[in-house]
């Protein structure tokens, strides 16, 4: 059960991040990488939802590509507003996910991982060979920055080019991420989350008590694909361009890695993992040619020491002791 004070705490934290950071951080570079980390976190949350039902999903890169291209094509060719386009991008990605999921979700383990990996490659190659429609190898550039969103003549969101574009992108990424976290948090805390955990541990058993596993697998995968599409759509507008190589197999693998390193037992896991590793890679820049080495060492070391993710530190002995003294232990069950 999510307690309302937890929700308030989250909302305040999100607000402080979204509003406070642009005041403190002047560097466009830092704002830029924070925004990228937030965008990637949204996509990683999608991968996390499929991990929640016990599937290693290496197809998130493909859904991000689909979302990005939907935004790119809709805004540049048909003049659709970004705000409509990104929502459409999410739903088209979800639709692609549902159709694919109908065929592949009964597979598990490496079979599922491999098939989604193939999907990432297939989408990339399809976009590469898509001719005029997808812009082929050159992709689509000159995507306009998000314009004004107004309702009944009242401006809700100002056009990005009328304000500081960097700050606007940062705020957009933060808001989208907060919404994505709320979505996943709610799912995992309500009964559906409990059923997802059941399915992850034994689909046969879940089915035996009447769970329509086929249906719920599609739901989880569909929402995951939706988040992939939203994240991809965000990047299309933030970078003002999309390319077939924009997301590939290495990205798909990284996204799942972020989830694992953050801790897949926690909703915040993918977000913590993404920020830690993506920003970590940037800050290791000072190692110059040893940057990649330092980054991969950090990653492997984390996996060895904290195989259940960074957030599993919260279950370390001393924290648990503290909690039990303060009467909070065991208060996590879903429901």
């Amino acid at each position: 059960m999510i307690r309302s004070n937890q929700v308030w705490a989250f909302l305040i934290l999100a607000l402080v991040y979204i509003v406070g950071v642009p005041f403190i951080v002047e560097s466009r570079y830092i704002l830029g990488i924070l925004a990228s980390a937030a965008g990637l976190s949204i996509i990683a949350l999608g991968a996390w939802l499929t991990l929640a039902i016990g599937r290693v999903n290496l197809g998130q890169g493909a859904f991000a590509l689909v979302g990005g291209y939907v935004v790119a094509i809709a805004t540049t060719r048909w003049g659709v507003s970004f705000w409509l386009a990104i929502v459409v991008a999410g739903f088209i990605s979800a639709a692609v996910g549902v159709v694919l999921g109908l065929g592949i979700l009964r597979l598990r383990g490496v079979y599922f991982a491999m098939i989604t990996l193939s999907f990432t490659e297939a989408v990339r190659l399809a976009l590469l060979n898509g001719g005029e429609f997808t812009g082929g190898a050159g992709g689509i550039s000159r995507i306009p920055v998000p314009g004004e969103l107004s309702l009944l003549g009242v401006t809700i969101i100002p056009a990005f080019n009328s304000v500081n574009t960097h700050v606007a992108s940062f705020v957009l990424s933060g808001v989208l991420l907060a919404l994505a976290v709320l979505l996943c948090w709610r799912i995992s805390a309500c009964r559906i989350g409990g059923v997802f955990v059941s399915m992850q541990q034994s689909e046969e058993l879940a089915q035996s008590v009447g769970v329509n596993i086929t249906h719920l697998r599609i739901v989880a995968f569909g929402i995951g694909s939706f988040l992939g599409g939203i994240g991809g759509g965000y990047f299309a507008a933030a970078q003002q361009s999309v390319y077939p190589g924009g997301f590939g197999v290495p990205d798909s693998v990284s996204l799942v890695l972020y989830c694992f390193l953050g801790g897949i037992g926690y909703v915040a896991g993918p977000v913590v993992g993404t920020f830690l590793l993506f920003l970590g890679f940037q800050f290791l820049q000072d190692f110059q040619q040893y940057q990649m080495l330092a980054y991969s060492l950090l990653m492997v070391a984390l996996m060895i020491w904290l195989p259940n993710g960074v957030l599993s530190l919260s279950e370390a002995g001393w924290i648990r002791r503290y909690r039990s003294q303060h009467g909070q232990a065991g208060a996590h069950h879903a429901g």
């Binding site: 709610r186 799912i187 309500c190 009964r191 559906i192 409990g194 059923v195 955990v197 059941s198 541990q201 034994s202 046969e204 058993l205 879940a206 089915q207 035996s208 008590v209 009447g210 769970v211 329509n212 596993i213 086929t214 739901v219 065991g330 069950h333 879903a334 429901g335």
Partner: protein, 272 residues
């Protein structure tokens, strides 16, 4: 849905709740189950027994729709459920348990039982997500039901233990608790006595009886003859995929076919 578990009187009811009619299953040329028929009546404890490899577990899988029969029909409460998806069979009120390997390892007893209440409740997925009025009512019902089930199966004391840390007997009770959470009319137990000592067996017999008293028909597939004899109202004996006997425990005990089947098996075991 109401989550009352109605307590009925010990009146012996007569309507068949499950009818297995001429069911066969062949794998390639091999006949695992051949032309088996029987009826389970509402309110009874019914057992399928047979020596190792007799086709018991295949039959069990056929009834619960984990396998599709090559021939024959399975009728549950007047409805043909042959080949129906397992979750639909469960939703209709026929719920199975597993042997101990299949559990939600990382959940506590209370979590696992609450989670198993999937089919109960009026709220759809969106209702649950937005915590609609119906969903909140469902949650209250589930809490109440979970409470009753844990009480019934004597699991209160271990409610906050993780499943993987439970001793054998409790673990099997947890399996039944999860099955009861789906509010079955017919509970199918897969070898509930396997690997138990006599104390645990006694306890389990008590639990199964109480389940029946709560109004749930019980069918079990079992290898352990003495326990079955003590517990069951009626028994079907399977050997080499065929029904070789059916009747009350006294009839089975004295059936020559059954004695031969089990003697043959013991010879084999001695020979190894």
């Amino acid at each position: 849905m109401q989550v009352e578990i109605p307590v009925t009187s010990g009146q012996p009811p007569r309507d068949p709740i499950l009818t297995v009619e001429n069911v066969s299953k062949r794998f390639g040329g091999l006949t695992a189950v051949g032309n088996v028929s029987f009826k389970v009546k509402e309110g009874e404890i019914f057992a399928i027994i047979g020596p190792n490899g007799a086709g018991k577990s295949t039959l069990f899988k056929l009834i619960t729709s984990a396998l599709r029969p090559t021939e024959g029909e399975i009728v549950f409460r007047g409805e043909n459920v042959t080949g129906l998806s397992p979750h639909l069979v469960a939703a209709k009120g026929m719920v199975r348990t597993f042997q101990e390997t299949t559990i939600f390892r990382d959940m506590t007893v209370i979590e696992a039982t609450r989670n198993a209440h999937y089919v109960t409740g009026q709220a759809g997925l969106l209702g649950i997500f937005f915590n609609s009025k119906a969903a909140r009512q469902d949650l209250a019902d589930i809490d109440a039901s979970t409470d009753r089930i844990l009480e019934l199966l004597e699991l209160r004391s271990v409610a906050r233990e993780r499943s993987k840390n439970l001793p054998q007997g409790r673990l099997r009770a947890l399996g039944m608790a999860m099955a009861l959470a789906a509010h079955p009319k017919l509970l199918l137990l897969d070898e509930p006595f396997a690997g138990m000592n006599s104390d645990e067996t006694d306890q389990m017999i008590g639990i199964v009886r109480r389940i029946r008293e709560s109004g749930v028909t019980v069918m079990l597939v079992e290898h352990d003859m003495p326990a079955v004899m003590r517990l069951s109202d009626r028994i079907v004996v399977i050997n080499f995929g065929k029904k070789i006997a059916e009747g009350v425990p006294e009839e089975i005990k004295t059936s020559q076919a059954v004695i031969d089947a089990y003697l043959g098996e013991e010879d084999e075991e001695l020979g190894i």
